[in-house]
Amino acid sequence: MERVADEVLVRRVASGDERALSGLYDRYAGLLYGTGIRYLGDRGTAEELVQDVFTSVWKNAAGFDPARASFATWVYRITRNRATDLIRRRKARVRTIDSEPLFEPGETDPSGELSRNFDVAAALSRLSPVHREVLTLAYFHGFSQREISERMGTPLGTVKSRTTAALRALRETMSFDENRWSTDE
């Protein structure tokens, strides 16, 4: 499952494969949940966002066309639309938080930050397991190069060169075309 492309997993989801949905969840739920907390303001609404997005992926997977957009682009759009709905609904109630949300109704991720995050998450999922592991341990678990060396049982020099190779592979994999998302709409 680890090296299966997102687009293949969506095709399996369309066929009713819950395990494929679980695989996509493992790749994107952390980003969705963190996005929800950061921009929607509370953990309960963030959970609702994650649940809504994956339920939508399950229901609409048959309509996903990889020729038109990557899975990351598709799930980004679902997330943005669902987050906007949640904000609209919350605005209809008494406003209880002071933080500024990312999405205002009618706006579409104006900073482009969320779309870039999906792009990077997709690129990360396409790396080899060895490259993904070294970056995940450093960035998502906060381990130092020496700690990664001890944890993986790999010489420190190898960890450093592997980290360099992994960042290079990530850079080559992801698109940095900043205009892609706006022209894609």
Partner: protein
């Protein structure tokens, strides 16, 4: 100035700020005289910043959220309820299809693809079974006949999997009563048609992954 290849391998930890002070100084000395490493550093720094942004935003969801989502999704219906007139028309087409299949076996492309004889594990030593797979449009029909299976306890069930290496694709779940016998048809996505193995596990919860309580397994042989 340090050697180029050696320093180039340090550029990743360098842009992350993860080098020891002495190494960092060596890299900076090298960069002053090496345009290609400076260019590489710019590329790696961009990847580092994007990844750092992603890590900053990402947060682990509650451990039970995945199970809650999977438990809450609407199940694909194996058979839809159809109006009686439509059922009659469909039945007529089925008769024609059967006749067609008899006289022109390849016309509808739905012949048996593979079969397997299932062998028991220690969990169900008296169990046995046969599985046959048949292509039907977008999906495959997976036909199971099994016997000698221990009866399911309350809310427990069996699940049939098509297997390739570490991959498992569920063809469906079922329960077994005191007779220990089951004879039913299930569906699996046709991409799993090339999977070489089949197995049945005993499941105690709604975790979408296969449990380690395998009761029957076999190898699929193409027909």
């Amino acid at each position: 100035m340090s050697e180029h290849p050696e320093t180039r391998n340090l550029l990743g930890p360098y842009v992350m700020g993860a080098l020891e002070p002495q190494e960092e100084q060596e890299v900076e000395d090298h960069l002053q005289g090496c345009a290609s490493c400076r260019e590489e550093t710019q590329d790696l720094r961009l990847a580092h910043e994007r990844l750092a942004d992603l890590a900053y935003t990402t947060e682990a969801p509650p451990p039970d959220l995945k199970n809650r989502i999977v438990a809450g999704i609407p199940r694909r219906e194996a058979r839809r309820r159809v109006p009686s007139w439509l059922a009659a028309v469909a039945a007529a087409f089925c008769v024609l299809a059967v006749l067609g299949a008899i006289f022109t076996p390849d016309l509808f492309g739905g012949g048996p693809l593979a079969s397997a004889t299932l062998s028991p594990t220690e969990r169900a030593p008296k169990a046995g079974g046969e599985v046959s797979i048949q292509g039907v449009g977008e999906n495959m029909e997976v036909r199971l006949e099994a016997w000698g299976l221990p009866a399911c306890k309350h809310e427990h069930y069996y699940e049939l999997w098509l297997v390739e290496g570490e991959e498992r694709v569920s063809a469906g779940s079922f329960t077994v009563g005191p007779s220990g016998r089951i004879d039913l048809s299930m569906n699996a996505p046709n991409f799993a048609g090339s999977y070489p193995g089949v197995g049945i596990t005993y499941e105690k919860d709604k975790n979408p992954d296969a449990s380690d309580m395998k009761v029957l397994s076999g190898e699929l042989h193409e027909l």
